[in-house]
């Protein structure tokens, strides 16, 4: 028979130990809270306020009314006007805009003459979930403009057939395959998971095995130790990326459209960034369990706030700000642009600067946090 007293005693012991294990307690509370907040508020599979540019070749009451109807639908956030097709293309390719809306010359006149012209909407379909909601709303938007503007003598125009329509041109991923968006993102996800987890253990393992005391008694500089810990994993990161790129090519038929050099440079920066982040965790964590918990805490937002799983522009503004503080956000933009849109360095340069800044800042914090003594 089991002893009730013994079981009670055992339970009590576990409770006492748990009570004294602050980090675990914090995690127990924070994980559900953070998950709920992120999933509940930040994640939105029907994203609104997607950035769009307008090429207005016909500036009349009608075209302006259509633009404002697009804005009123809340799906489009008209960032501004561009004046050439090339400029519009560049904005799409760099990911600044998800739509470019073009009103052709003489659009209003054609409507009045009953020629039923169309508004061209070019959509960045590399992230199909993001744009599908907005595209679905176009029909309704057209109807509301017709009802509002084509009155009096123009009312007849609406009677026969739609006086104008939207022509949608999906770019980069016309079939709307979600995996086109997911697979490049997966590189980022795999890199951040393994990178952070691996190096998060780096110093805690030394500490737990008692070898840290030895290492500290030798004349090795903190920066040297850090580089030593990180370097092997840079190679591992490149190896992992290679595997994914290879599989993407031969299993899913996703090639790298852009420059391999730009992609490699982005990989190097991003891998380094992850490893530094993990190393920072390991300077702070007391043991491996704690390091693991802290890693998960860092990884969860990367999963949800960066546009990996859910559309970035689908998140409310505050969540987008949070997402902007995560390196993966920028890496995803680079890797998707380079792989799917054939973007070059100039298209994605701002994301490079952001990643570089992360590397510099995390290195500085790590050097500050690193303890040269056992105090």
């Amino acid at each position: 028979m089991f002893s009730r007293q013994r079981i009670k005693g055992l339970i009590k012991k576990e409770f006492i130990q748990l009570k004294r294990d602050r980090p675990t307690l914090v995690m127990i509370v924070m994980i559900p809270v953070v998950q709920l907040l992120l999933f509940g508020y930040a994640v939105n599979t029907d994203p609104k306020y997607l950035p769009a540019s307008v090429i207005l070749r016909d500036d009349t009451f009608l075209t302006r009314s259509i633009v404002s109807a697009l804005e009123r639908s809340e799906y489009f956030r008209i960032a501004g006007a561009v004046f050439s097709d090339n400029a519009g293309d560049a904005r799409l390719r760099s990911g600044k805009d998800m739509f470019v809306i073009t009103f052709p010359d003489g659009f209003t006149a054609d409507v009045v003459r009953g020629k039923a012209p169309s508004v061209l909407i070019e959509a960045d379909a590399s992230d199909p979930t993001s744009v599908s909601g907005a595209l679905g709303a176009l029909q309704g938007i057209a109807e509301s403009v017709i009802a509002k503007e084509l009155k009096g003598p123009l009312a007849d125009l609406a009677a026969v057939r739609p006086p104008f329509s939207f022509t949608v041109q999906k770019k980069y991923n016309p079939e709307g395959f979600t995996r086109y968006n997911i697979v490049p993102g997966l590189i980022g996800m795999v890199l951040i998971f393994t990178g952070v987890m691996m190096t998060a253990m780096a110093l805690t393992r030394e500490r737990e095995r008692g070898t840290m005391e030895n290492l500290l008694s030798m004349p090795a500089r903190p920066f040297e130790i850090m580089v030593g810990k990180i370097c092997p994993f840079i190679f591992i990161g490149f190896f992992q990326s290679g595997v994914i790129l290879f599989l993407a090519r031969f299993l899913f038929g996703i090639p790298v459209l852009g420059s391999g050099g730009v992609l490699a440079a982005a990989l190097l920066l991003f891998i380094t960034c992850n490893l530094l982040l993990g190393y920072l965790i390991s300077t702070a964590a007391k043991n491996q369990t704690q390091a693991l918990q802290m890693s998960i805490f860092v990884l969860l937002p990367s999963l949800m706030l960066t546009g990996f799983m859910f559309p970035f522009y689908g998140m409310p503004e505050w969540a987008q700000y949070l997402g902007s503080c995560i390196p993966l956000t920028y890496f995803l933009r680079i890797v998707r642009a380079v792989m799917l849109k054939g973007a070059g360095f100039a298209d994605v340069a701002p994301n490079f600067w952001s990643l570089t800044a992360f590397v510099a800042i995390i290195t500085l914090i790590t050097m500050k946090a690193y303890k040269k003594t056992l105090d």
Partner: protein, 305 residues
Amino acid sequence: MDEAAIDVRGLSKSFGGRTVVNSIDIRVPKGRIFGFLGPNGSGKTTTIRMLCGLLTPDGGEGTCLGMDFRTQAEKIKEKVGYMTQKFSFWEDLTIRENLEFVANVFCMNRVSERVEKALKGLGLESRADQLAGALSGGWKQRLALAACILHEPEILLLDEPTAGVDPKARREFWDELYRLSEAGLTVLVSTHYMDEAERCHEIVYIAYGDLMAKGSVEEVIAKTKLKTFRVGGKNAAKVREALEGNPAVATTALFGEDLHVSGTDGEALKRLIAPQASENGLSLDEVPTSLEDAFIYYMNRAKEN
């Protein structure tokens, strides 16, 4: 006065309000083997860690090899070998890999040559590719020593190096220390083995953070002013019970059938023991006070304070 390898004054450290090392002065002349004695938890490890820059002292000043030990810790590390109490080399590296790592961290030239020489010196050439974790306690200790002196340090700090090592390995270890000391290396070794303390040129005794005595073994014993009597024969244990708690008795210890009784007042002690001895038909004679008696005497005295 000889040139000092280590010369620190007023060394202090406390953890969470508890004083672990209380204003200790240590002066170790060059080329000497200096013993560091004290019970468990007396602050030996903390002192050694402060000397090699692993802990920041709360107070104190001084030099190691002429360099300020508070501000030039990084420089000092290059000339100091520190052997930790617990084996702290990498168990998932082989013996050779450990030695090569150390040689590289100390930026030494001719790495493979030096490593081979060290392996030969250890007698470990045939097992050089075995994982360090697979070694027995004695071999681990020899590997640790070899790794600590690989970069030819001027000071060797050893924290209870022979704990858990058999007597033969211990003797060989000490033979090696003597060789190194003759070659000019300064050794500071902490221990609580009396026989090891007696091998040191000079010892200091610390208990609960306070420095109790220093000097040669003879001086440290003499400083206690203890007189020791040996009560021999059967039933000596009974005499011990009778003496228990008497203020004139500082320490008692049984060695087989003999009882050693020590006290600072020799005459009073003799008056106390003599009737007991004759009553039980036991022999009574005065013997030299051992270091162990002195050790326990200091320890008890430190506790009282």
